[in-house]
Symmetry: C5
Subunit: 87 residues, 5 copies
């Protein structure tokens, strides 16, 4: 999973039906010391994350293992909110 | 998902049968501030995107979750048209 | 999918049985302006591509969706020959 | 699989239910000569690894092949503890 | 698939059970001209490759398509020994 910061969201009216109902957040991948690393991506929010929060981001088929998401066209999702990184 | 800009399309007469009927668009991955990031790729268009539009691009097995696409040899697709990126 | 150029092929006598019968081509990923981008890879040829041709390259589980390939140990394949890139 | 060093862990109270019970470790990918290579990631610990240990890290659907993990939202896991790298 | 050179192996006594019986080789990804490209990884050996040999490396779910490997926690494997690269 990636460490990332939620930095915004995307508005997309015309989209694949299976994306309806998900908030699509812009996430910035981060290093463990909370410096930025690489390009922003868009992740579906599974946990109610807010702008500015540090989150865990899953990708690939892992984000569709739950029965209700098996047919969702999602390849990246926010799956946890990070309270603390201990390094 | 990637933020990308549709910058062109590819013509391929000789191709795997399962690609027939899909428009194959050239997409440029973008950062959230709409500067370019990385190499162009080719994505099947699922939503009727036009040249110059900013789009959401899904990849991997996510783009084949829908019944009618399960046997399509597609690993990247345009799955939404971005109206606005709020960062 | 990647835009790539076919630049050679690989001879491998000792290999997993499921690879038998496939031509294993060396492909060079390309940008849309046909400059090189990144390291060469090896892709199974599904469409009869020749050296020097520009091709579409699929990767991941997409290249095994067809019934006859479900048990083939292939993670990258040439799936179309590019006639033209319009950008 | 990646060679990595366990450098910390992540505390995330609010997370997808399927992650409950897993220790989420911060791992630093390494080269074979044990110099760092690339950004830290978060991996579920399957083997009881400790801070400072060198480990094998698997990713993608491989980390969910076991029956008890098929529905876990995990895309990266520590799957072995490295005793020695012989190069 | 990657072109790679086998440069060593990893000893891991404590590991996921499904890895038992596989030799875990350290591989160095290579360009077609046999110069190094990128970080070393660890791959399960499916073909009896030796140190110093050039090999084909598959990754992702492709390396688990065979019945006897469906439940193995492997995401990268040596699947062929390269006799010659013709470029």
């Amino acid at each position: 999973m990636l460490i990332a910061k939620v930095v915004g969201n995307v508005v997309a009216t015309k989209k694949n039906d299976t994306l309806t109902g998900y908030k699509l957040m812009v996430i910035q991948p981060m290093r463990a010391d909370l410096t930025e690393d690489g390009c922003q991506k868009v992740a579906a929010d599974y946990v109610g994350a807010g702008i500015g929060e540090y989150v865990l981001v899953g990708s690939g088929s892992s984000v569709r293992v739950e029965e209700q998401r098996k047919s969702s066209l999602i390849d990246m999702a926010i799956i946890g909110i990070i309270d603390e990184i201990v390094v």
